[in-house]
Symmetry: C2
Subunit: 251 residues, 2 copies
Amino acid sequence: MNQIFRNTALRVSCDQCPLRVLPHFREFSQPELDFVSSFKTAELVAEPGTVLLAEGMHNAHLYTILSGWAFRYKTLPDGRRQVLNYMLPGDLIGLQGTVMGELDHSVEALTPLILCIFQRDRLNELFVNYPSLAFDVTWLASHEERMLDDHLLSVGRRSALERAAYLIAFLYKRALAVGLVSDGRARLPITQNLVADTLGLSIVHTNKTLRRLVTLGLIRWQGRACEVLDIEALVDVAGWEQAPEKKRPFI
Amino acid sequence: MNQIFRNTALRVSCDQCPLRVLPHFREFSQPELDFVSSFKTAELVAEPGTVLLAEGMHNAHLYTILSGWAFRYKTLPDGRRQVLNYMLPGDLIGLQGTVMGELDHSVEALTPLILCIFQRDRLNELFVNYPSLAFDVTWLASHEERMLDDHLLSVGRRSALERAAYLIAFLYKRALAVGLVSDGRARLPITQNLVADTLGLSIVHTNKTLRRLVTLGLIRWQGRACEVLDIEALVDVAGWEQAPEKKRPFI
DNA sequence: CGGCGGCTTGAGAAAGATCAAACGCTGTGG
DNA sequence: CCACAGCGTTTGATCTTTCTCAAGCCGCCG
């Protein structure tokens, strides 16, 4: 359990990266692809529950998720936990630690995970020689900031029901973008405990709130996962005005 | 009221930027300085209450605060408002809009403001020719992300009293870093309405909570401002474990 | 002088937390 | 194969925090 398996050999070449063909991601030039291929040193497989990065680490790695779900969180000294965001395929993990020297949040695998490991100390080279990729890194940081803005608005100003609807709609949209939704049905691999720590609510109240969404026919809950039944209605309950997502970069 | 005055001429040359001498900011090389000087097109003066950037804008400007305070916020369709963060001298405004094409939050002046205006469309040039500055931009985005992480933890998991203490301690530390604290006393230019919208509380409850901090002798409230009396105690009440701030960049 | 924005206070209502207990599934060990 | 432990989910009862409503105060500015 909670083990990390490291592969020195590249299993998936960046040229044939399965993410690259998704319409959600921008296209790369060959020189960019070549650099990213050399930037990637290995792949890593992690089990659910593995803590990939821990608060306070100084030499955190830099990863991109190739497949699976993870989440980012912080805790107070007495153990209260706040989930900050979820990471899906194409998301960069550990940028804060790489750019600012120290990490102040933790990252845990939610499902089995495959990660691309990058050479943290060559980020400088990326900035010097591949300005377009450097811009992408900044884009990704801005994108994370935007998601946090939304979460903060949600936790600060939405009611429990609205918050729950927003979170599930948000995760659905993200899953959709990376092709994890088949025939309109997505299975979001979250527990109610995690939802509670994301929404800033207690587990009990989270359960009662989710139950209301179930009764309304918007979601279904089964086996540590949430199935979305009516995304439109969820967005509506949340009062969420989303900007349409354009093509995004990833490294 | 709420007017913007634009000066075509540079009043303060970047070489003699008053922020540059603060120990809080990293030193720049001459070529960097020269570029930033050319990147800056003008200065702008704004009155308190001026909305510098509004949600949904497509051609948002890119600014750095030279002096004064501003805040960033989002609103729900029915008007509920959440303050996301505060911006002080040295902070970049409008990066999200510049990098991602569209802005999804608003920015308002809290005090009289002096801003440096940058040529948004030359950001590309910055990335191509000044990788060290590009890295700084990414650093700033990561820094914003880190502050948001903290705010989210606060709003999601701290009690009203802890939240209030955290916010005031946070603002004090930020003011301190840019030299706005004289003999241990800082005057934070916030209203209780704004505090409420930052903490995700009602005005009434915010008032009662702040009153408790006043009674405890940690702060004083007078004339649309908060005076910090005991920063250590505030940090303690908040249960805030802060990483020591290192030197930071700015553009 | 009057209006307005910001602060303050009390009282009752509502949302959400805590406590307590139980159910069902899964994996493990006898 | 069954007993059991552990985790995730569910539900009811009660307690606490926070919200809403209502009103009054103060200082500033037109």
